[in-house]
């Protein structure tokens, strides 16, 4: 397997969230075309309900994946960890939800940017099956 661009050990230095709210393990790759991350759903994940990860954890995963990728791509936030907030969620579609021990593979693309405002499109997959897709607006502060 290819070495991640940012590994689980370092991911916390890129985003303001602390455990147990970190919803990204590794930044697999980041290019101007797409940002890829993975995340293993552990039994102790606080967003599990009856062994299933809730949808807002997937949205958070997309937001955190975006933040790490945008920093690596030097789009913003050269002072780490980056500070910001989610300004909106749109075009949300939920197809399925991951379960304990599933690894979520996430692809995020930058739709547009104006200053420190970013519109990101994200998709979560487990074993090739799409779980959720949405657009999130991220605002860096």
């Amino acid at each position: 397997m290819k070495k991640p661009k940012v590994s689980k050990a370092d991911i916390a230095s890129f985003i303001p969230q602390k455990a147990p709210f970190i919803m990204v393990d590794n930044l697999i790759n980041a290019t101007p075309e797409k940002i890829e991350t993975d995340f293993l759903v552990l039994e102790e994940n606080i967003f599990l309900e009856n062994g299933t990860l809730r949808e807002f954890a997937l949205i958070e995963n997309i937001a955190q994946s975006s933040a790490v990728g945008l920093v690596v791509l030097e789009k913003f936030g050269q002072d780490r960890p980056v500070e910001g907030f989610m300004g909106g969620i749109s075009k949300l579609k939920v197809f399925d939800l991951p379960r304990v021990n599933d690894t979520i593979y996430t692809i995020v693309t930058l739709v547009t940017q104006m200053g420190n405002m970013f519109l990101m499109k994200g998709e979560n997959y487990v074993n090739g099956k799409k779980m959720l897709e949405c657009e999130v607006k991220l605002i860096g502060v």
Binding site: V111, M114, M117, L119
Partner: protein, 87 residues
């Protein structure tokens, strides 16, 4: 120009999923943000998407965005200006 303005209004309504608003409700020269259409600054991203997706006009600078995205008139004028530069 009038067609462009009307199309812009339709695209804004669709992209921002504005409920109970028709193109006729949006004045050409009133501000789109706050007191006009009531959009907030984060909604500007959807307007940037419209400018890129339908007209090939990129706006990455916030200070330019502030002027261009002020009203339907300013958006239409900027599209025409950029199209003229391309020809």
């Amino acid at each position: 120009m009038e067609n462009l303005k009307y199309t812009l209004k339709e695209q804004i309504i669709a992209e921002l999923n504005l409920q109970d608003i028709t193109p006729e409700d949006i004045e050409d020269d009133t501000p789109l943000f706050v007191e006009g259409l009531g959009l907030d600054s984060i909604d500007a991203l959807e307007l940037v998407v419209i400018m890129e997706k339908y007209y090939g006009v990129a706006i990455t600078d916030e200070s330019i965005g502030e002027k261009v995205l002020y009203s339907i008139n300013t958006m239409a004028a900027y599209i025409q200006e950029k199209n003229a530069e391309k020809q």
